[in-house]
């Protein structure tokens, strides 16, 4: 790599990942950084740098899947309908914090949090309400749930079964990436080991019974939101995905039984070309890892299927309307990176749950790209660019290096259990903050192009104080109407299965089917597995 030596009079440009950007690139740079002869194979061919499908968006544009949910299931269903009527092609369900950490809406710890950052779910009845009238074969549903994922997934499967869908062809995705929750987002419930075991349960169950369902969406997104740079984002996500693969192999599954159903969730903000190179490099590296390290025979096993969305971390509180323009660039990056699914944080998201208007603008931003810009006409239009291909090569090498560093230090599960990744990411978030203050990082409206007397014209999504009360009433009604002895029986069976180390998905399905609640099931599992304690790193 030449370091600006071509033009020593110019200021150096260094990307977040540490790569120095030259003022001019040529074919020599691609050759000097090349990794293997098949680096730029045609789209749809291993190692998939240019895309996992031969025709990509020319055949079908990316799925548009805004994150949505708040209040009661009734209110959330109305927002779903609003988005679907306006052309959204997938659903991405936000759950409230009590649901995410396994508490019922009437738990004292849930007070003030019910329905606030997502939809409240206590029992299967809530899922029945939320998806009433929605054809689960027509639109794919992504469940953003982690700590309590086995329970909420069980509810979704039970709901589908009850409504007569064939589970063997049911599609959809659960986030269900618990390892990243210990680094960021933090909706953990159980200690690391049983948490990973339960992810393994869902992978195994889906491999056997729901082969078209994606049981895990491994998230670099939230790790980056917590402060990681783009290289770490990809490296930690791949290491976490490997941890799930290794665990599943230990159970006796073969890699081709499940690897093609693993999906990924990544973040977009920061340098335009660095993000695009990150995704092209990541797609290629993942294909190589799955084939070379795991011996996968099915090419699909190494497909990096992803949702790449405009990240909240790039948006600003200051001059919030600027976030509409930022998100449009993020959407462009996502498209040029060959994403399967896109979601954009809305311009008001630093303040509030998105209003209808803000959610609509985000959806329209994506639709503008697919309908007006011709962006979907041809596959991977940046392929062959001296700069993009060179950067792609450099990013692949750096991601691989960071993965090797963590693995040689004992692996990702150990690094997360001991808080090493958390501390590293927090230190980087602090370095970013210092960069903003000393001006070495520039952010429009924050430390340059600042408005003195700022008018923050953000309309707030109203928090409905009555929603919590309605949710608690409906939970009490379900509790009084269900067959208490069947609930007790199902919970006892679940506890036995947990103590015996059995797969817990089926016992969870049986429990939710008789309307056992999220809190009741979690209580049983806590009794068996205990509760996670954060490592003291501060």
């Amino acid at each position: 790599m030449s370091k600006g030596k071509d033009r020593p009079d110019l200021p150096q440009v260094r990307l977040e990942s540490g790569i120095e950007v030259k003022p001019v690139y040529t074919a020599d740079d691609i050759a000097a950084t090349a990794i293997a002869a098949d680096d730029i194979a045609p789209p749809g061919e291993y190692p998939f740098t240019r895309g996992i499908h031969p025709l990509m968006y020319r055949r079908r544009p990316f799925t548009m899947r805004q994150y949505a949910g708040f209040g009661t299931p009734e209110e959330t269903r109305r927002r779903f309908a609003y988005l679907m009527e306006r052309g959204q092609t997938g659903l991405n369900v936000a759950f409230d914090l009590p649901t995410q950490v396994g508490l019922d809406s009437d738990d004292p710890q849930a007070e003030g949090e019910v329905g606030r950052v997502g939809m409240a779910v206590d029992t299967l009845a809530d899922m029945e309400t939320a998806f009433e009238g929605i054809d689960l074969n027509e639109i794919t549903v992504s469940l953003t749930i982690n700590g309590s994922a086995p329970i909420i997934m069980a509810m979704y499967f039970a709901l589908a079964e009850k409504r007569g869908y064939d589970l063997s062809s049911l599609r959809g995705t659960a986030q269900n990436d618990i390892l990243k929750e210990f680094v960021s987002r933090n909706t953990w419930i159980f200690p690391v080991e049983p948490s990973v075991k339960m992810v393994g349960d869902t992978i195994e169950y889906c491999a056997r019974h729901l082969p078209r369902y994606s049981p895990v969406s491994v998230c670099g997104y939230h790790i980056r939101e917590a402060g990681a740079d783009p290289v770490q984002e990809m490296a930690y996500a791949f290491l976490i995905a490997r941890a799930y693969i290794d665990h599943s192999l230990e159970r006796g599954l073969s890699v081709d039984d499940f690897a093609s159903r693993l999906s990924f969730n990544f973040d977009i903000h920061g340098n335009f070309f660095e993000q695009i190179a990150k995704f092209r490099a990541g797609r290629r590296l993942w294909a190589r890892i799955v084939k070379e390290d795991y011996g996968a025979r099915n090419p699909r096993s190494g497909w990096l299927r992803m949702i790449a969305g405009g990240g909240g971390g790039g948006l600003t509180i200051e001059q919030p309307e600027n976030n509409i323009a930022r998100s449009a660039y993020y959407a462009l990056i996502s498209t040029l990176s060959g994403t399967q699914t896109m979601a954009l944080c809305t311009y008001d998201e630093a303040y509030t749950i998105p209003t209808e208007k803000a959610a609509r603008i985000a959806l329209r931003t994506m639709q503008l790209l697919t309908t007006e810009m011709g962006i979907t006409d041809t596959v991977d239009p940046l392929a062959g660019s001296y700069y993009v291909e060179t950067l792609t090569n450099q990013m692949e090498s750096l991601i691989r290096q960071e993965m090797d560093r963590v693995e040689s230090a004992g692996g990702i599960v150990k690094a997360i259990s001991q808080g090493e990744i958390q501390a590293r990411v927090a230190r980087q978030a602090y370095a970013w903050e210092k960069g903003l203050r000393d001006g070495s990082i520039r952010k429009v409206g924050v430390n340059c192009f600042v408005e003195e007397e700022e008018e923050r014209q953000v309309e707030f999504h109203p928090y409905d104080e009555g929603a919590a009360a309605r949710q608690v009433r409906s939970l009490k009604r379900v509790r009084s109407q269900r067959d208490a002895s069947r609930v007790a029986g199902a919970l006892a069976a679940l506890e036995t299965a947990a103590r015996q180390g059995q797969n817990l998905v089926e016992p969870c399905i049986r429990a939710v089917s008789v309307y056992a609640s999220v809190g009741e099931i979690t209580t049983v599992l806590k009794r068996v597995f205990g509760t996670y304690r954060e490592p003291r790193i501060f």
Partner: protein, 135 residues
Amino acid sequence: MEGRRTRVLLAKPGLDGHDRGIKVLALGLRDAGFDVIYTGLRQSVDTIAQTALEEDVQVVGLSILSGSHLPICKKMRQAMDRAGLGDRMWLVGGNIPDRDRPILMELGVSQVFPTGTPIDQVAEYIQHHLEEHTS
């Protein structure tokens, strides 16, 4: 107390898992010369008040980004009173809309620092206003 560094307890009450801000603040306040104790996530208001008492801190800072700052701070007010921390400097940071600031100040919050506040501003506030509080 002469020669003693100002002790600050930073805490995450409720179920909110957003801890980037509070970790960055902990690192920044430490660099600015404060003794910082961070509780970790999902602390009850009583645990936070009890920790403040045991650690003998002069400042209690809560970080809340889930939007539930009003119900949490109402409970925190009572917990601080029960623990006899009524006059301790109490800071609240996070995703706090301007319109909620007067409500929090009415509850006895010393100052509100919305997301995006520079760390220096928090450090300076503590240095300049600590005398107004008994500890």
